[in-house]
């Protein structure tokens, strides 16, 4: 019997349709695989009973001829999506015990299509991190190791990528604020997809930086990403920034034909000090695109170097405002010092509940929004952000998609960068610009470095043109033929 955890979503969908397997069988195998992967620390809450209940419902749906792309497919859910009655804490201590009374729209869309929830996935606290080392529930391990050394899975969607790369979920929801889908996908040899800002509803997503946050997916193939993205996308009256546009059939975009498409290569992404093998892989990607009939066009995105500093004003500013709600009154942790009053309770609760990185960002955000500094920092950053978006707008007058490396390095070891916030922030140097501009993008696994660790290439598209990103990603995937798998040391 084939190992059902190794199937892609598309393969499982076809077997379910033919009646060769049931969702219950598929789900049971995955529940066992989730338990066997405890060493990865990808799941921080498991929901096997719920999963089996959903699987039986899915099997009934399939029997009734009502199968959709995600029907009966077992997935993991990042801990920042509200799931009714189930652990939802964005992996922060301050949300201790929080079980929402409502469901996020992204997860509701999945359940409406008949998908199956295996559990909630680990992440950096409030999605603030690039290595999954800031979670209150401890770091996630990358299934891929550097020799005998454990490596980080990237972040913030560390549990999402680790569970999918480790065959403990067929797909996972994730979220991107500055690269939290694409960078960890690159670190784990998975396919990460972030849609245009406004494509998915943010209702029920724990807010970090509202003008940047956007849901997306982690899967093992491009086709699986197209299937899952179509399920979670769509207009929602409950999110005023969700945009009322029809969701295309993303899978239909995978024609394999990119002849005549213009692919832009931004010269500013040739970073000094970047490993030669990443440059080489990027060049290889360019050759693959040419061989498939695309036209390569050099482009300039002159404000690229200012994207990270812009991000580290805008995102903390919005975070300091969003995270003001955690005050010990309505949910989660409460810490009242002896004889303390209301303000003492706020201060003690927030001191005990937030981790160091979250505190650091709230402090930065509070400072840049405070009287006398707002214009110099926040307003300045929003102006530079406009220039960054204008760079992309001009580039997309000449090209259909942009090709870059996803991250400036492969996965690193634990503790290697956690002492230096700025060194950690530099991980997102290639992903942050597109986040600031709200563009759709993906990371496609294309090869291994000298240490045997996966590397990805990033593909960016025009607003609302996810289809071209999928199309180009599909061609890249086929050309790269990335079939390497991590040794299953965790089982």
């Amino acid at each position: 019997m084939t190992d059902l955890t190794k199937l892609t979503i598309a393969e499982a969908r076809d077997l379910l349709k033919k009646g060769d397997i049931t969702s219950r069988e598929l789900t049971e195998v995955h529940i066992a695989s989730v338990d066997a992967a405890d060493a990865l620390n990808a799941y921080i809450a498991k929901t096997p009973e719920l999963a089996l209940e959903q699987a039986d419902k899915a099997d009934a749906k399939i029997k009734a001829g009502e199968q959709k792309g995600m029907t009966g497919i077992p997935v993991g859910i990042k801990d920042l999506f509200a799931t009714k009655g189930v652990h939802t804490q964005a992996c922060s201590h301050i949300l201790d015990g929080f079980k929402p009374e409502y469901e996020s729209t992204v997860t509701q869309n999945l359940w409406d299509d008949g998908a199956v929830m295996l559990g909630k996935l680990n992440m950096d606290e409030f999605a603030m991190g690039s290595s999954n080392e800031t979670s209150f529930y401890g770091p996630v391990k990358n299934p891929w190791r550097r020799g005998d050394t454990d490596t980080v899975p990237g972040g913030s969607s560390g549990g999402s990528v680790s569970s999918v790369a480790g065959f403990a979920a067929m797909g996972a929801t994730a979220s991107d604020t500055g690269g939290s889908i694409r960078q960890p996908a690159s670190f784990t040899g998975t396919f990460g997809f972030k849609p245009t800002y406004g494509r998915c509803s943010r209702y029920g997503m724990v807010a970090f930086a509202s003008s940047l946050d956007q849901a997306g997916t982690i899967t093992r193939t491009v086709r699986d990403g197209a299937i899952m993205m179509e399920s979670i996308s769509g207009f929602d009256v409950k999110d005023s920034t969700s945009v009322d546009m029809p969701v295309p059939n993303f899978e239909a975009a995978l024609t394999g034909d990119i002849r005549g498409k213009k692919i832009g290569i931004p010269q500013e992404y040739h970073l000094a000090g970047m490993p030669a093998e990443i440059e080489a892989l990027w060049q290889q990607g360019i050759e693959w695109m040419k061989a498939a009939g695309a036209e390569i066009v050099d482009i300039n995105l002159p404000h690229t170097k200012y994207a990270l500093p812009t991000y580290y004003i805008v995102a903390p500013a919005e975070a300091s405002s969003n995270l003001a709600r955690y005050d010990g009154v309505r949910y989660g942790l409460r810490d009242v010092p002896q004889n303390g009053g209301l303000v003492d309770m706020y201060e003690a609760t927030r001191a005990a509940g937030f981790g160091d990185e979250v505190k650091r960002r709230i402090m930065i955000g509070t400072y840049v929004l405070s009287a006398g500094y707002y214009d110099a920092y926040y307003l300045k950053a929003q102006k530079v952000r406009q220039l960054i978006a204008d760079d992309f707008k001009r580039a997309f007058e000449k090209v259909d998609a942009i090709l870059t490396p996803t991250a400036p390095s492969a996965a690193f070891a634990f503790g290697e960068k956690s002492d230096d916030p700025i060194a950690m922030y530099l991980n997102d140097v290639f992903t942050v610009p597109a986040s600031l501009a709200g563009l759709p993008g993906s990371s496609v696994p294309v090869g291994l470095d000298a240490n045997g660790l996966p590397l990805g290439l990033q593909i960016l598209g025009k607003p609302w043109d996810e289809e071209t990103v999928f199309k180009v990603s599909g061609v890249m995937e086929e050309a790269a033929n990335f079939t390497a798998k991590p040794a299953e040391w965790w089982r």
Binding site: G97, K99, T241, T310, Y312, A324, V336, E347, Q386, P463
Partner: protein, 96 residues
């Protein structure tokens, strides 16, 4: 431009309602100065006549009827409260 000292960190912490112990103020001042010093490279960029971005998608906010669409959920709203009494969130005494 930025030169955050201990007193400024204490003030920011107060504004952010996060209790920071005295011995942590100095190291935090160093960290914040590092980060702010790094972001100040934005000063090189000429932003005269540039409008600050207010929204990444050029979508107008939708109009809707001003009517109640949801509610009557006192129990749900209070369900996760650390302390709720008589249908209210309960907090330490504010008025002496």
């Amino acid at each position: 431009m930025s030169n955050i000292d201990k007193a400024t960190v204490a003030k920011i912490a107060r504004l952010a309602r996060i209790k920071i112990e005295d011995d942590k103020l100095e190291p935090l001042a160093g960290e914040l100065n590092n980060i702010l010093g790094w972001v100040e490279q934005l000063d090189e960029v000429n932003t005269d006549d540039i409008q600050p971005m207010s929204s990444v998608v050029n979508a107008k906010l939708r109009w809707r009827q001003d009517e109640v669409s949801d509610g009557d959920k006192q129990e749900s709203v209070l369900k996760n409260a650390p302390n709720a009494e008589y249908g209210f969130f309960a907090v330490p005494k504010v008025i002496e």
